[in-house]
Symmetry: C2
Subunit: 83 residues, 2 copies
């Protein structure tokens, strides 16, 4: 089994309204040292597969086809072999 | 400046319908080796602060008060000093 830990984040140039809302809320309840907040997706996929290279190829294609919007988001991931 | 990298995840005992939907979609488009998918939030908060202990305390309290639902979610985080 292999676990893929995938981060799908808005590109730095894209406004994150959900993050701005959290920053505003945090200022309102007294956390004035908060300068910025960015909210992203973190996705774990477990593969019934032992070949890391095969999983690497599949995760790239899954992100391109389903998980990330290439216009506004980028992704990166790590693979971890599970016992 | 300190960056907090915060993971807010559903507890293992809580059903993740969004993750199940992704698993089903992936099977439908041919990724049959996908065994499970869990979708979580990954939040980066930048603090205008240099004291790591002060940020650590604030992040715990921000997660408890705003970011995580203690009934269904748990969180963990890492802190990173930025140049």
């Amino acid at each position: 089994m292999v676990k893929a830990k995938i981060y799908v984040q808005l590109k730095a140039s894209v406004l994150d309204p959900q993050g701005k809302a959290v920053t505003t809320s945090l200022h309102a309840i007294g956390y004035e040292r908060v300068a910025d907040t960015r909210i992203s997706k973190y996705i774990e996929i477990i593969f019934d597969e032992t070949d890391l290279a095969a999983v690497d190829t599949q995760v790239h294609s899954i992100c391109d086809k389903l998980l990330a919007n290439p216009n506004t988001e980028h992704y990166h991931f790590e693979l971890e072999t599970m016992e």
